[in-house]
């Protein structure tokens, strides 16, 4: 047994994040950890890396009771983690981020930069992401690229135990495949891996055993062969999920038309979005989909082209104008672009529509709170109260807060960039339903997603983007993942 957790508990004010959780990890195993948003998975990982100290329970490492003092200590013990929340420093290069605090140095303690870049290049090649340069600044990477760097950073420590907290949440199928190859190699070397993901197919593909957490309680461990997706979901959610195959409500009425739009990283964008339609944008990392959405939304400068909403040309130079024109944008990076981490749920929910909480002209906290409560119920945000600071929410619940913020603006056209990033299966199906409902109500939704099953399940049509241009259009209900990938890559 590499690692054993015995009766670990952790409490936050008003939240029992973990309640007597026990769990063990064997050498050379991939152990999946499942659970809804806020079930306590990340908290458990934080305990294993010494960021948090358990309120009760013991950790046995190689049979020895161990107190893990902090991330530095965890690294010494051979535990490395890919955090759900990125742990990179924007102002430094990729190489320095990967080898943070353990840059190769000579006998004098001086950093050997040539070696540093060399090792980084080798590592990036292993991960098949050598389109990222070692000297590139992390600030210039897209979220998906950052996620890959984060993975590289954990691997650079050559850990014996690797913790992966939703590593695939923002990367595409291609990177996922590389990651899995890597995991299999590590397994062969006898390393142990804890793998957290909300994507069940991944778990069935890679895991040897699976453990389930629910509301901080341990629900048991089983070999993967002994479970089916259905009973896994039942363990996690406590009920069966409703099928979400709903009929498309797409009409032929044009809502949004984009003509020859060009912006940073893309050009010649032409498409039409109809009322009631969900239009999917598929593509690999760096295809430029986020840039398209942000340009449409007025956040990035438009270089040329026209945008029509309901047949009227709109001139959008700032998100404020986009909102006024009836658009909403759920950004892909919730932490830096979507949330006010140190403010409460209430304040986040009303951020894009403060007027909604000020019907009399005066901002009214109680109205804001009522609105927040309404969305807390609607999206099932797991939190004791809406005055909770968003930083203290689990990743998935944070994502729901961002969604709530945009739903409150009641947009005609909703641009959603990786909307289910880090969201559990239960909530995901709720969000799918919600997006469907919005479409049925006559809204248009532009769905950017790297999760192909999601696109296939939701989109009426799928545009495949490669290198900033549309490479093809596929009907959502009839196409396959292979077909999309064929268009998205060479």
């Amino acid at each position: 047994m590499v690692l054993q957790l015995q009766e670990i508990s952790k409490y936050f004010p008003g939240v029992k994040a973990l309640e007597a959780v026990s769990f063990d990890l064997q050498p050379g195993e991939v152990h999946a950890l499942c659970g809804e948003n806020g079930a306590g998975k990340s908290t458990l990982m934080n305990i294993l890396t010494g960021n948090l100290q358990p309120d009760a329970g013991t950790i046995l490492l190689h049979g020895q009771p161990t107190r893990i003092n902090g991330p530095a200590h965890a690294a010494e013990l051979g535990i490395a983690i890919v955090y759900q929340q990125l742990s990179l420093t924007d102002a430094l290069s990729v190489a320095e981020n990967i080898f943070a605090n353990q840059q190769p140095r000579n006998a004098w303690g001086f950093i050997q930069y040539a070696k540093l870049y060399g090792q980084t290049r080798a590592l990036l090649q292993d991960l098949q992401i050598d389109y990222i340069q070692p000297k590139q600044l992390v600030a210039d990477l897209s979220p998906a690229e950052k996620q890959m760097v984060e993975i590289a950073k954990a691997l650079a420590k050559k850990p014996r135990i690797l913790l992966l907290d939703e590593p695939t949440a923002s990367i595409t199928a291609r990177e996922t495949k590389t990651l899995f190859t890597l995991i299999k190699n590590l397994k062969k070397e006898g390393k142990s891996i804890i793998y957290i993901s909300h994507r069940l197919p991944e778990i069935f593909e890679i895991a040897d055993r699976v453990s389930v957490l629910k509301d901080g309680h341990y629900q048991g461990t089983q070999p993967i062969a002994a479970v089916t997706p259905e009973n896994l979901i039942r363990l996690m959610v406590g009920r069966d999920l409703l099928g979400h195959d709903q009929a498309s409500g797409a009409t032929n009425q044009e809502l949004l038309r984009v003509v020859n739009l060009a912006g940073p990283g893309f050009a010649n964008l032409n498409f039409t979005l109809h009322k009631g339609e969900i239009l999917g944008l598929a593509g690999l990392i760096g295809a430029g989909r986020s840039e398209m959405a942000q340009t449409l939304f007025g956040y990035l400068p438009r270089q040329q082209g026209q945008v029509f909403i309901n047949g009227q040309e709109v001139f959008i130079h700032h998100p404020a104008e986009a909102i006024a024109a009836g658009m909403g944008y759920v950004p892909e990076e919730r932490k830096s672009q979507g949330l006010f981490l140190d403010r409460t749920i209430t304040e986040n929910v009303v951020a894009a529509n403060l007027a909604a909480a000020a019907p009399s002209g005066y901002f009214d906290f109680r109205i804001a709170q009522t609105l927040a409560l309404e969305y807390k119920e609607k999206l099932q945000i797991a939190t004791p109260h809406v005055q909770q600071v968003v930083r203290n929410l689990s990743g998935g619940n944070q994502q729901k807060v961002v969604l709530a913020k945009w739903l409150l603006t009641n947009p005609e056209v909703l641009l959603v960039d990786e909307p289910t990033h880090g969201i559990d299966v239960g909530a995901k199906s709720e969000i799918y339903q919600l997006l469907r409902q919005l479409a049925t109500a006559g809204k248009g939704i532009l769905l950017i997603s790297s999760e192909l099953p999601e696109l296939l399940a939701l989109a009426d049509r799928i545009l495949v983007i490669r290198q900033g241009t549309i490479r093809g259009e596929l009907p959502g209900c009839q196409t396959t993942e292979e077909e999309i990938m064929a268009l998205a890559s060479w």
């Binding site: 998100p319 404020a320 981490l341 403060l354």
Partner: protein, 317 residues
């Protein structure tokens, strides 16, 4: 009880009450008199009016080091116009305020729209405007018109006017910042500028407004100070910027932005004013003043943190 210490406004209020109580016990003849306390308020009125603007800037994650010079300049310009050019009092005041608005606009424009570093911009502006104050006020302008002096020297209910103006400013801005959509945006800007922009807040424009507002309040403070003193001096408001920022941070703001409440500006200034007053009453002089004030400042902040930690429980992060 526990909740109290999570909010700086409450915890500072309690601290201030305790200090007053203690001082009343030790100096029953000199401290708790109407004369003394109204004087304390009068002395912090100018700083507090500036501090309200500074609080708003800090909420939005910015600050302005040029306010001290603006205090000298606006008063100096008004005095110059009244004294040397016989301009009517209201016109002169308006000119002083307009000059402050212009300074704020330049600061705001260069910082928000051109991306100049706020520290360098406002520090450079501090020098420029101080030079301007020397130009308009020379060494000293005295014998200002009666009605101008009356603004700051008149009394209401036995308390000199600047105190009332200060209370009015704090009250108005407390309500505005708490209750209007416009001002609430500053919390979002200070919390996460990018997310604020993406939430449809015109961040640049709002920043510009904040600098204009803060400079305007400094302009008002400058006019009041000149009127209260019956004189304009080019050295007025020297060092005021750091004093005000300290008061505002003590009152719950943070240089990182996103937090703070307007009454905190008053409470921070009040705390420092009371400590200074008690040191005067206790006849602590010279170098000990700085030493003791420093120790009290650190102790107050440390205590607040300690109580907060206690009330939050032992949770990390």
């Amino acid at each position: 009880m526990r909740k109290l210490f999570q909010d700086r406004v409450t915890s500072l209020s309690i601290t201030i009450l305790l200090i007053c109580l203690l001082a009343s016990l030790i100096f029953p003849k000199n401290f708790p008199t109407f004369e003394n306390l109204s004087q304390v308020l009068l002395n912090l009125s100018i700083d507090t009016i500036v501090a309200v603007g500074m609080m708003l800037l800090l909420i939005a994650g910015m600050f302005d080091l040029s306010v001290g010079s603006v205090v000298a300049f606006s008063g100096g310009l008004a005095a110059n116009l009244m004294f040397f050019h016989q301009v009517p009092v209201p016109v002169a005041i308006l000119a002083g305020l307009l000059s402050a608005i212009l300074i704020g606009w330049v600061n705001g424009y260069l910082i928000a729209y051109q991306g100049v570093n706020p520290m360098i911009q406002t520090l450079a502006m501090l020098g420029i405007v101080r030079g301007g104050a020397l130009l308009v006020a020379g060494a000293n302008i005295q014998n200002l018109p009666y009605w101008f002096n009356a603004i700051g020297q008149a009394r209401l209910l036995g308390i000199q006017m600047p105190v009332w103006y200060m209370l009015l400013t704090v009250a108005v801005f407390s309500v505005l910042v708490n209750r209007t959509v416009f001002f609430r945006r500053y919390y979002y800007i200070g919390g996460n500028e990018k997310a604020a922009e993406l939430s449809g807040i015109l961040v640049k424009r709002m920043k510009l407004y904040a600098f204009v507002l803060s400079a305007t309040l400094a302009g008002i403070a400058g006019i009041l100070l000149a009127s209260r003193l019956g004189a304009a001096m080019s050295t007025l408001g020297r060092g005021l910027e750091l004093r005000v920022i300290t008061a505002v941070i003590l009152g719950g703001a943070s240089l990182q932005g996103g937090v703070g409440k307007i009454p905190g500006a008053l409470l921070g200034a009040l705390f420092m004013g009371l400590v200074a007053n008690i040191m005067i009453i206790a006849r602590i002089s010279g170098l000990w003043q700085d030493i003791i004030l420093g120790i009290i400042l650190i102790a107050a902040v440390w205590l607040d943190l300690y109580l907060q930690k206690q009330s939050r429980g032992n949770s990390k992060i």
